[in-house]
């Protein structure tokens, strides 16, 4: 692609209507399709997939009794396999109580601290991720479908603006790699379309499960840009934009990524 054609493509990406994601549904490719056979085998086999250890831990937390007199997750929500099916596909979503867009991790944490009176867990705490993995894995293979209209609109637009804004010492926007140079090589990696449908995912580089926000921070560090800490609202806005951008892709949580 010549430079001016690239500039045109980016301009076109800006110009499309809010209802049309930049990548047509038929061309959406999950990050796993860019991975090698070894990583794909690891994700496909529930016993080899280390992310399932977090899911197992989350399952134990789901029925564990919290502070005295408070209900466990299971006492209110019953069997997660039925009540939590499809929930992860709707997040991030507008939360009336909080009056802002929340992602699944924040929503679960609100339930834990308010309804269960449990001690707050910071983002990326092992148990917080474990519970999110367990809940999100109930929506496996379900297509992502978030709502970006109504009260969520301003958050979505902030996310979109962030995505197309050049930043950092390398002066790169997310779109420069994940829309204009998809499929090309960046050192040993193939640049993917940049979807978050496997997160929280087990990343081999981390040797643990991490959230999408942690992954976004890793990308921002990669282009030598300022990386807002996990839980900063702009990262949730970006998550919402990404979810809209990849709508229709099936959820893979817990995925495995390099």
């Amino acid at each position: 692609m010549t430079p001016w054609a690239g500039a045109l493509a980016l301009a076109a990406a800006f110009a499309v209507s809010a209802q049309t994601p930049p990548i047509p549904a038929a061309s959406l490719r999950s990050g796993i399709t860019y991975a090698g056979a070894d990583v794909r085998a690891m994700q496909d086999d529930d016993l080899q997939n280390p992310g399932m250890l977090w899911s197992e831990r989350g399952k134990a937390l789901w029925s564990a009794a919290p502070a005295a007199g408070r209900p466990s997750c299971a006492q209110c929500h019953d069997d997660a396999a039925t009540t939590m099916r499809g929930v992860a596909a709707r997040y991030p979503a507008w939360d009336t109580g909080a009056s802002h867009v929340v992602d699944l991790s924040e929503r679960i944490e609100a339930c834990r601290t308010v309804k269960q009176g449990a001690a707050a867990l910071p983002r990326e705490a092992e148990d917080r991720n474990a519970l999110e993995v367990y809940v999100a894995s109930m929506s496996r293979d379900m297509p992502i479908a978030v709502v970006v209209d109504g009260p969520a609109r301003s958050s979505f637009e902030r996310g979109r603006a962030f995505y197309y804004q050049r930043r950092g010492q390398m002066n790169l926007a997310c779109a420069n790699c994940h829309e204009q140079n998809v499929g090309k090589r960046l050192f040993a990696e193939t640049i993917s379309q940049g979807h978050g449908n496997a997160f929280p995912a087990y990343r081999l580089e981390w040797q643990s499960v991490g959230s999408l926000q942690r992954r976004l921070r890793a990308c921002l560090n990669g282009v030598h840009a300022e990386a807002p800490s996990e839980g900063t609202p702009i990262l949730t806005d970006l998550e919402l934009f990404l979810a809209w951008r990849e709508q229709g892709l099936p959820i893979e949580t817990p995925g495995v990524r390099r």
Binding site: L47, Q48, P50, M52, L53, E56, R57, E126, Q207, S208
Partner: protein, 107 residues
Amino acid sequence: MAFARVLVPPSVKRGEAIEVRISIRHPMETGFRVDDVGRTIARNTLKEFVCRYNGVEVFRASLGSGIGANPYLRFFITAVDTGELAFEWTDDAGERGDAKAAIAVTA
């Protein structure tokens, strides 16, 4: 947090080989890494892993810093009697973990 996921076939014929698969949650800290302020992170890896079949030791492994986090082990044993596989492991921090799996053997 020391726990594991185990998978063995639900039922097997006597004399047949059984595939045993186990995945253990463990950071497998090598002792060569440093934290954000330059302090060495203490080594903590799994040391010994033992599998007993109805009390008889059938598999043993010594693990160390060359094995990545959350080790996944896969091995074969011969089905003898209906009973229980008991897994046990220890790490450098002195923590012990265990897991169990039932085996149904048909004649």
